[in-house]
Symmetry: C2
Subunit: 360 residues, 2 copies
DNA sequence: TTGTATGCGTTATCAC
DNA sequence: GTGATAACGCATACAA
């Protein structure tokens, strides 16, 4: 019966310098049992003051940090929340993750981030790997369409939040705004400013497409001419925006206003217009998406559709924490809305400063 | 002796719908032992084809995903790399993390990200918590100065990379560039363009300070007047940049050129100058740091010091993987250098397009 | 106030 | 080719 106790105890000493100290090392050093060390962390008041001091000294001496893998296994709880985003290189996601991380950290949860890099195939693998870490909750960006992923998430038995995109058939919970409403609002906003011939430059991902569709539908409803839509694969960039604008000016139809799926694309459009001496908003109005921090720094300052990433992150954190606490889920779906932040790039001479916002 | 086998076996069925399937559930369903299931994943060729098929069918049926907490505990290896950054909302860090994540993912490693939000006190807690996850390696941004953190990292026994800031006394490994060289290079670059009265707008963090000091030293060496340094707490923003510029113009000394510790600050400076009708670079030249994606979108396009975050991330990943493979560590320190990307904001009428770069 | 025994889910080792 | 067993580090129930 070669049990741990029967054979020579394994300690930091004979495991080499690379091994981390365990609760056993601390116990041995302090001359107490494992339980006493465990209690020194969880219920210190239950211990005799001198025992506690001895244990704490031992913990410091060996640099003891509890092994969360063991804790997780024992408690079936990892205090880990996973977040799957397309990329970290987009402002909205950063903001969301920062808020999510901060809010969860207060309750002792950490956030494990996964990036799909906009590769659809990678999402399945990523979700599977991630679920292997047994997070206590998982947040995915956008709505989950892939059947395999949906099943994986549903079968995981943990709270799932689809963030940033409000759809009806969410797996579990959702927080974000309606891309349909957004597309329609932008269209009617531009129409309200007197623009007739509208164009869209956007990524070809699912969310953008639904925005575009709603935009086009609204244009039709308002009796405007067909919208000129140009799609490009993400990620967007300044050169891409310039190129799209150059192509439009050279070969495309004449337009009064352009809605860009990202502020970076819009920035490229502004640059190309400046280069060619085209007045913005005089000849062409431009509006972006995301209200990135640099939108106000562009020339002219860029009108943009602001989605409050921080609020999404905070809401998501709150929803997770409620579920972790076993509370009845109040809301399965939260609409944080969006705001059209108007700056010079769409401002008509006579139009006063204006804000338009949507909330469900 | 109430062992698992003696009592009723616990399976997914009687643990409720929320519990994830374990290797035991799969084994029971396939009518094989635990080891056979384990082997079906690790050494499938060792199994009889029909057995393998049966096990795989069972795995699919219950949606089995191995519990990494258990694997980690068993193997003393988490396939997790931790990265501590000040914030996700800075382009260089995003780029670095994206590259790091992508490179490590190929080898089956995931990246656990922690944000200090520039709060010095939070770093200790964060590192401690993070080490509790027993990552196989840890990357920290900037050089580690805090004694406690240094000890914690050194005692962890895992590969440690200090990224983005090359210092002599790194804990283990380092990849990045020298902030001293950077500061000096920017100063001499501006001096080379004929500027005499120089100013710096920067964050008050350690790295920025060392840049500034080197900048000032270089100015002195070149016989220029004292540098006007203005420090602000991070994070930087467009309004902050504007405010700093407004204050300088209203109350500060006259300057020919301003070096900004971030592109966002520089963008604010450009906006304020435009507002006041001050010619850039005619009256004042402006240079930023980071070569953010929007630098080229500003007006005038912003000269900026580019640090290749992606390269830092890739280098770090390669260094980690080498150590994980047990290979002798080739280099403990890698200098990825930096590049001054010159655009309109510093370009003198007669000066041709120019690039300046440093590599150790 | 402190200690002992057991199992969380997995894999290495040995046995058949 | 397959199975039984112990152990990874920790926390809970139960004893003392």
């Amino acid at each position: 019966m070669p049990s741990r106790k029967a054979s020579a105890p394994v300690t930091t000493a004979n495991r080499g310098p690379t091994a981390k100290a365990t609760i056993r090392d601390v116990a041995a050093l302090a001359g107490v049992s494992l339980m006493t060390v465990s209690r020194a962390m969880k219920q210190p008041q239950q211990l005799a003051p001198e025992t506690l001091a001895r244990v704490r000294a031992a913990m410091d001496q060996v640099g003891y940090v509890p092994n969360m893998a063991a804790v997780s296994l024992r408690l079936s709880q990892t205090r880990l929340v996973a977040a799957i985003v397309p990329t970290l290189a987009t402002h909205v996601f950063d903001t969301m993750l920062a808020a999510l991380t901060a809010a969860l950290a207060k309750e002792g949860y950490e956030v494990l981030i996964g990036q799909t890099q906009y590769q659809p195939g990678r999402e399945v693998d990523l979700v599977r790997t991630t679920l292997g870490r047994r997070p206590d909750g998982i947040l995915v960006t956008g709505s989950v369409q892939d059947k395999t992923v949906r099943n994986l998430l549903a079968a995981s038995g943990i709270p799932v939040i689809e963030a940033g995109d409000l759809v009806r058939n969410h797996v579990d919970m959702a927080v974000g705004m309606s891309n349909e409403k957004l597309g329609a609002a932008v269209c009617s906003h531009l129409a309200g400013l007197g623009h007739q011939r509208l164009a869209i430059f956007s990524g070809d991902d699912d969310r953008a497409q639904r925005r575009n569709k709603a935009f086009a539908r609204e244009a039709a409803r308002l009796g405007l001419p067909p919208v000129h839509v140009v799609l490009v694969p993400p990620p967007t960039s300044h050169p891409v925006g310039r190129k799209l604008m150059a192509d439009l000016l050279d070969h495309g139809p004449r337009v009064d206003a352009i809605y860009c799926g990202s502020d970076m694309t819009a920035a490229g459009v502004l640059s190309e217009c400046r280069e060619r001496g085209i007045a913005v908003p005089g000849e062409i109005a431009v509006i972006g998406t995301g209200d990135t921090d640099f939108a106000q720094a562009l020339y002219p300052p860029l009108t943009s559709v602001r989605v409050d990433g921080a609020r999404i992150g905070e809401c998501a954190a709150a929803m997770f924490l409620e579920r972790f606490a076993g509370k009845p889920q109040e809301q399965k779906s939260v609409d944080v809305g969006f705001t059209i932040v108007e700056r010079e790039s769409t401002r008509m001479e006579s139009s006063a400063r204006q804000r338009e916002s949507s909330r469900a």
